[in-house]
Symmetry: C2
Subunit: 340 residues, 2 copies
């Protein structure tokens, strides 16, 4: 098993170090290779993501990413040039984002207790408005126009919906909620709705429901307990998973996977949080999201027992917290001891 | 002053009746004309929105809408054919959605007290993904594709941003947050960001900030207190305002206006909630959102004092609630007495 590690910028290196510590404790001997990508490299060399690096990454089983980005880089450069390029080049069509209100934590919602929120968002990762299809005319004049196009294929929609149903089959509640905006985006929404209905027939024991994205955003706050598996398009998934992170105690704990389930290319696992330059280098970032990203990675690579061990250790870690300030390395140490 | 009234479907008629009761109490003698539009008319006659009705509506100063829609109507028919057609034909480019945690209410967020949340979303209403520009090929086959196009003009973006700044100038905190997704939607995002920066120069005493839509969706839950005026695109505004409604106690209280600030065409005022067929006809729908829509209408038509009176009466009504089941007509009676 060979894992490429992109520590990235800001707190990325600090939290990834703890993820690797835990990986080594739960499954010693995994080969990891660091790659230098992100804002720092861009500023130093002008390079965002050389083809040679992409070809090397492609030789790995998975990629662990810390965080990339910095306010000093123009919007879109690292997003389009690196993060989205990875998702598209490696056909990572399942953007997986589990949401749990962990034991020992309190989210912002009054009266919602740990264990009550436990769902996973299967966000499409290779289509929609993220295709980069857009343009403009008459820039900087009163006549300026700009377009963005959402591109959706039966191929892309069907495979991600099927993945969501398969995941629901492995869960206790066995329910898939499809989220779109079929009443306004009638073309793409129609494709999603018809495909959802057809795939659902292959899974007669899975319950289904449909919600418009605005209603789902509301229920995510008023009744997140209702969800089991949510499947949705790329942009809706981006927004919904941040609400999900918020109601489960913030992006400090949220992990995600950009997954190619066929394993034809490496999948990538990363915390949902960013590089947080304001607290970088102070050893106080919470590495739990990075540690949980390692668990998602191991699950994907066929080590579910090790993944469960990490999740249980994280639950113990979070339950034991007393409100003291977090020390990044100490969290990694404690979780490592628990999984060893 | 002539107001057209579209009661619509489900609870629409019940809540609009209370809105009109309050209107008559605060400003007696306003001429109102009912128009029959919505799911019921569609089922009865097959008509969604005849041109003759549009031409009559155009002769009014404003439109009060209850709610239209029913699960028996295919997605998109009433939305595209009626609601969005009104917004587009009458060039209602400011979709205004105030969010307040009202006195006497508790939202779902632990520890957030009435008065602490008080912002307004200025959602663009005539462009973006709502333009209806999309299509598809090879429907029903494995080769199917579907597209949706977001169309954005300098004209449309500039006028709604300027409106947001003007509104911020009338508020205590004088701050505008622009929300988009400039790091992925670089074309439309670039147009929004550049226009925002330019218009901001005309308002040197208004503070500005920018947030990506996913971050804003998160802050809407973790720190909604931070917002004063939010300006954003059509689809982002759709989603954010439902989160806003959720954190301020649900869509039962949220009012909105689809406004043409030039008054070249009538503006439309409506509760954010839908027709709620499950509780229709039982006299238990909360009419507060419809009553607050009347306040927004009066504000727009140059009657700010009457609008304030209604808002104060609603605050009194909500403060006095004891958790007893709501009786629609009694709420309207109490608020009417307070504003008379
Ligand atoms: C950084 C950005 C391109 C990315 C996205 O929009 O997908 C991020 O918000 C995420 O959710 O992973
Ligand atoms: C009904 C629908 C077309 C509408 C929208 O998407 O704008 C609604 O959700 C709203 O927010 O007013």
């Amino acid at each position: 098993m060979r894992i490429a590690v992109v520590a990235g910028d800001g707190i990325g290196a600090e939290v990834v170090a703890e993820g690797l510590k835990v990986l080594d404790a739960v499954l010693p001997g995994v080969e990891t290779t660091p790659y230098d990508l992100g804002a720092a490299r861009y500023h130093r060399t002008g390079e965002v993501f050389p083809d040679s690096v992409r070809d090397e990454l492609a030789q790995h089983d998975a990629i662990l990413l810390g965080a990339v980005g910095d306010p000093t880089v123009p919007p879109g450069v690292l997003e389009r040039g690196l993060l989205l390029k990875l998702r598209f080049d490696f056909d990572q069509y399942v953007n997986l984002r589990p949401s749990r209100l962990w034991p020992g934590t309190t989210g912002p919602l009054a009266g919602v207790k740990p264990g009550e929120i436990d769902f996973v968002v299967v966000r499409e990762g290779t289509e929609g408005l993220y295709a980069g299809a857009g343009g403009g005319l008459h820039r900087g004049t009163p006549a300026e126009i700009a377009t963005e196009e959402s591109l959706n294929t039966r191929h892309g929609v069907e495979r991600v919906i099927r993945d969501a149903f398969a995941r629901a089959g492995n869960r206790a509640r066995r329910k898939v909620t499809m989220v779109h905006k079929t009443n306004v985006l009638t073309h793409a929404g129609g494709l999603w709705a018809r495909t959802f209905a057809e795939v659902a027939k292959e899974f007669p024991d899975i319950a289904t429901e449909y919600q418009h994205v605005d209603a789902a955003a509301m229920f995510m706050v008023t009744n997140p307990q209702r969800y089991d598996v949510i499947v949705t398009d790329n942009l809706f998934g981006d927004i919904l998973t941040d609400i999900a992170a918020a109601v489960t105690g913030g992006i400090g704990l949220a992990a995600s996977g950009c997954i190619n389930p066929t394993r034809a290319y490496p999948s990538m696992f990363e915390p949902v949080h960013g590089s947080a330059p304001d607290i970088a280098g102070q050893g106080k970032a919470d590495p739990v999201a990075a540690i949980l990203s390692v668990a998602l990675c191991l699950e994907h690579l066929g080590h579910p027992d090790e993944a469960r061990k990490i999740e249980e250790a994280v639950a113990t870690e979070l339950s034991g917290r007393t409100g003291e300030p977090i020390r990044t390395a100490e969290v990694g140490d404690r979780v490592s001891v628990l999984v060893a």
